[in-house]
Symmetry: C2
Subunit: 236 residues, 2 copies
Amino acid sequence: MKAWQEELLQGSISALSEQELFNRVARIARDLGFDYCAYGLRAPYPFSQPRTVMINNYPDHWQARYRDRGYLAVDPTVQHALRSLQPLVWSDSLFARTPELWEEARAAGLAFGWAQPCRDATGVSGMLTLARSAEALHATELADKQMEMIWLAQSAHVGMARSVVPRLLPEMRAKLSAREIEMLRWTAEGKTSSEIADLANISKRTADFHLNNATAKLNAANKTAAAIMAAVLGLL
Amino acid sequence: MKAWQEELLQGSISALSEQELFNRVARIARDLGFDYCAYGLRAPYPFSQPRTVMINNYPDHWQARYRDRGYLAVDPTVQHALRSLQPLVWSDSLFARTPELWEEARAAGLAFGWAQPCRDATGVSGMLTLARSAEALHATELADKQMEMIWLAQSAHVGMARSVVPRLLPEMRAKLSAREIEMLRWTAEGKTSSEIADLANISKRTADFHLNNATAKLNAANKTAAAIMAAVLGLL
DNA sequence: AGCCATAGTGTCAACGTTGACAGGCAGGCT
DNA sequence: AGCCTGCCTGTCAACGTTGACACTATGGCT
């Protein structure tokens, strides 16, 4: 177990490729008794259809199937990861509303699994899934392995996010000036330009000016979208 | 170590009081070799002066000092937790810009410590700090204990958030209708009411109507603030 | 000295938002 | 049947936002 840590940490500190990092995670998953392993990341926006990245070692036909049928949008494990930090074990009741997904997953050899969500300061959420075709998951095994699971999910997240986030959220690289952030912060509180002008002791025109610049830097449609992007990305 | 898990998990599943939960965390911290332990939570808004909660077993005079001098606003460990998920070890260079904080902390017996940030789906960020007065922290100890640390931070967060978040974020309890969420989602993307009206095949007036209701339910000053609150709280 | 980012200011017209008025229709609960 | 909620619609006036025009000034970098 110690060997893992060294390995993964060294790997994630020096920037590995996503695939290499995933391979290490998958090897650790195998040591933990799981043939299959998946890591998914989801950006906090666009809100309708957020950008996602998924990397896994599931059978090819299942990967294709999952994509083609749009299972991502209904997968209850994904829904869970978006709301909670708790580990989640696959069960019949979990998939009660998506029987096709569940049956096809089992047919593909994904019979027993659990997932650990993770979330970072840029609003990106992630989920590590460990799965196997035989041998059900019991409470003792989960208790034994939960620490490794959380650790692995978080390490995978940090490593993956390092390379994926700049690609997924190019807006993160926008360098907002102190004034721009201040204007966005007040906007996020629901203040109008002229209220902000009073608060910051500048003219309304200047408040608008900074908001305009921030909106352009963030590639946002208007100041509402700019304030939301900044808020969600943790820039405020 | 297994005993811990059982204990904390059972504790956090049945709703313990914050203080009781903290006492369990502090006991585990002591088993890990740290006399002092602190858990802090910060709500995602208001953006200027976010609501925070802190519980720790630091010496009383240090707690008072930290509060009175407003160290929370400048504490570099807090700044780190707001940007990263990585563990952070206290060091001279970390506190280079806040020498008073660092000297006073050491004078209070807080000489060696590390912190583990954590973040959840409601945008609340947390940080678990373990500290002690003697015996420096070395790489091997950190490597040995990092899994327990992440696990403990996350468990503490989940447990604390359960009772703290409803108090800190009463807006979370707002039940938005499907339409209201849809309108907020589009608003968050930067669409105007009449664009949304076209997208949703309703009149501009109706789009405004739903946005208005959502704004009232979230106690927001205007639709921008409403969309931001919903976005940050993960309601979109 | 010239360039650039940041910060500050003004006006004006077109467009978007908000609040207060006033109303209808469908589905669930008592 | 009466009530509530969600959803839908209209008008109008006051107020807020956006973009395009034009201009000043400071401080850092080359």
